[in-house]
């Protein structure tokens, strides 16, 4: 075989690029493990109520405080409620909050970041001072006040933990926009007479979305953490609705003798957080242009 490259198909294909990016992700075993775990969590989120062998509210006093068994895979609590079913419902609750809160934070942050970066001048100045204020704001305690004011429950939780998190997105996106704003691509968008918003969404955003995806993974981990901490100190959903945080709180408070009630939900939570970070790292490796030349 000659080593002269073929001249017949000199056009690189998108498929090839995708595959090499995937290869870079797979290179990190930790990221792959994280992805597998997150897939399980996603499945639990989507199908939890249908997978659960019991209703989480069902009490079976004949089987109270039992360790893991075939009938109750994660054991039961002092009311004879099935921990496995409660975990499935808890995952669903916490994940929905994390995803929705992240989406809201992203949307708000993207609008503010794009506007500040593209417009510049006093718009940029005002928006970024507001963002700085949000950064400095003790969001966690503000979230507690908000939950007391609005009442507990999912919408208030989403608002409470999402309301300050957009600041990170805004700052990140503004910075990325600034690297592109005076570039040739944006100029060519202006040259065809496109509006600033059109250029921001169609020209700038697709070029910076990689970095945002990575940040999104970390933000989601942060959101889950916040929700869990709020639930742990008693601002979570009210029973019988359960979240990760309330399950951990339950395990930590009145079932001191039954350690599996603490260990199981907490381990699942820790694994989920770590997986999010590992997948975020993997995405960074995969999407970074530097990775391609390594």
């Amino acid at each position: 075989m000659s080593s002269v490259p073929s001249l017949i198909h000199p056009v690189p294909s998108l498929v090839f690029r995708r595959r090499s990016a995937w290869r870079r992700f797979v290179r990190s075993k930790l990221s792959v493990a994280g992805l597998v775990w997150l897939t399980l969590i996603a499945a639990a989120t989507a199908f939890g109520p249908w997978l659960a062998p019991h209703r989480p509210t069902d009490m079976d006093f004949m089987h109270a405080n039992e360790g893991p068994s075939w009938q109750f895979p994660f054991g039961t609590n002092n009311l004879g409620q099935d921990l496995f079913s409660m975990v499935l419902y808890g995952i669903r609750y916490s994940m929905v909050i994390a995803v929705v809160a992240t989406a809201v934070a992203f949307l708000v942050g993207a609008v503010i970041g794009l506007a500040a970066g593209m417009r510049g001048g006093w718009v940029d100045h005002v928006l970024m001072r507001f963002t700085d204020f949000m950064f400095a704001f003790p969001g966690f305690y503000f979230a507690m006040i908000l939950l007391v004011t609005l009442g507990r429950g999912m919408p208030s939780l989403i608002l409470a933990i999402g309301v300050t998190q957009w600041a990170g997105f805004a700052r990140l996106i503004r910075g990325l926009v600034l690297t592109m704003r005076d570039g040739d691509l944006v100029e060519s968008g202006h040259a065809i007479g496109a509006s600033t918003w059109y250029i921001a969404t169609r020209y700038v955003f697709p070029n910076i979305v990689n970095s945002i995806i990575v940040y999104t993974a970390f933000t989601m981990a942060n959101m889950m953490n916040q929700e869990a901490m709020l639930s742990l100190i008693g601002f979570g959903p009210e029973l019988p609705v359960v979240s990760f945080g309330t399950l951990m709180a339950m395990g930590a408070t009145y079932d001191l003798g039954y350690t599996y009630l603490m260990y199981i939900p907490t381990s699942i939570f820790i694994l989920t957080l770590m997986s999010l970070v590992a997948v975020g790292d993997g995405l960074q490796e995969m999407l970074s242009p530097k990775g391609a030349v390594k």
């Binding site: 007479g193 496109a194 509006s195």
Partner: protein, 354 residues
């Protein structure tokens, strides 16, 4: 102000006394210092000059495409009865890409990497509601074919990274021509291409412009390119118009020492061992508006008057016509105190005084 005379009725763009200042952290930079020029319908005007002479900046400024730190401080730019420099951005946007097309130098960054070629050519037509989607598609295919892109049906669905530099430049030209503009501004359209491709692209561009009777302003630093395609040339230095004349005058009878020097430093493959001529020094970055002639420091003809007084842009040989009654002369204008001597010496001046 400006040329101080009436203009031919088919004048499309008339720029007068344009001044552009850039705010830099260490003070202002005077990029364009009272540039005046015009272009007629169907005419091809070349703007020549070194890097940093203000040729691109003056064109970008009339399109409102300067960066945040650039500001137009004086001048007018009349385009079809409207002063572009005084139009609000919203209104200017309806002109860019619709009535004035722009082609940039960079073949790598001028196209959106996430849009297919066809969508990119259709984009200006859809943005300006020039025509419906189906018609835009047909027009885009026709434009790609006109630009000499083989197999446009297939290329329509390609991404920019799948194309060569020459092909990308053709796509960018198709984008600029999409809405049948009256004026095309081409900012070094072929500089990034190798010579053979350069010629192909230029030929396609020239034919397309001729077919539409479209006026073209082409910024270039390649005298060969300018001599081949332009009807008139304008030589810029330090943001001022040094000389503007038809291409045959530019070749036969240059009247500015800077024009002479530019011509002399152009390499010619047929003259092996011809002495290599360069202009001593570098183009200035003006921290304050120029007082005398900005070229005086590097000029072999410089006299005291050159450092004292800024030479006005004056008609060269036909003063009667310039002041006159009938058709005003736009043949040959030069901004040099010693133009007559330069014309008399011609190309000998450069070699002798090297």
């Amino acid at each position: 102000m400006g040329l101080g005379m009436g203009l031919a009725p088919d004048t499309l763009l008339d720029v007068r006394g344009l001044e552009v200042v850039f705010a830099q952290p260490d003070g202002p930079v005077y990029a364009v210092n009272g540039a005046s020029f015009h272009v007629r319908r169907g005419e091809w005007l070349g703007i020549l000059g070194e890097s940093g002479s203000g040729k691109s900046v003056s064109l970008l400024s009339i399109l409102g495409l300067l960066g945040d730190n650039g500001r137009v401080t004086a001048g007018e730019a009349w385009f079809d009865g409207e002063d572009l420099l005084r139009l609000p951005e919203r209104h200017l946007r309806t002109i860019r890409g619709r009535r004035i097309g722009v082609v940039f130098q960079s073949v790598s960054a001028g196209l959106n990497p996430f849009l297919r070629v066809g969508a990119q050519v259709m984009e200006p037509m859809l943005q300006h509601h020039f025509c419906g989607k189906a018609e835009a598609r047909q027009r885009a295919l026709a434009l790609l074919a006109e630009m000499g892109i083989p197999d446009p049906e297939t290329r329509f669905h390609s991404f920019p990274f799948e194309l060569s530099g020459g092909m990308r430049q053709r796509v960018m030209t198709a984008v600029a021509l999409a809405c049948d503009p009256d004026l095309l501004i081409a900012d070094e359209p072929t500089t990034a291409l190798d010579t053979t491709v350069q010629v192909q692209v230029l030929r396609v561009l020239r034919d397309a412009c001729a077919r539409r009777r479209m006026a073209t302003i082409m910024v270039t630093h390649d005298i060969g390119v300018a001599a081949n395609v332009c009807d008139r040339v304008l030589v810029m230095y330090a943001g001022m118009v040094m000389e503007v004349c038809p291409i045959d005058e530019f070749i036969e009878r240059p009247a500015h020492p800077y024009t002479l020097a530019l011509r002399a430093s152009h390499l010619d493959v047929r003259h092996r061992r011809k002495p290599l001529v360069s202009i001593p020094g570098t183009a200035p970055v003006l921290r304050e508006p120029p007082r005398g002639c900005p070229f005086a420091e590097r000029c072999a003809f410089a006299a005291d008057v050159c450092r004292r007084e800024r030479p006005p842009l004056m008609p060269l040989a036909e003063p009667a016509a310039a002041a006159g009654t009938g058709a005003p002369s736009d043949r040959h204008w030069v901004a040099c105190h010693r133009a007559k001597e330069v014309v008399a010496l011609g190309d000998h001046a450069v070699v002798d005084r090297r």
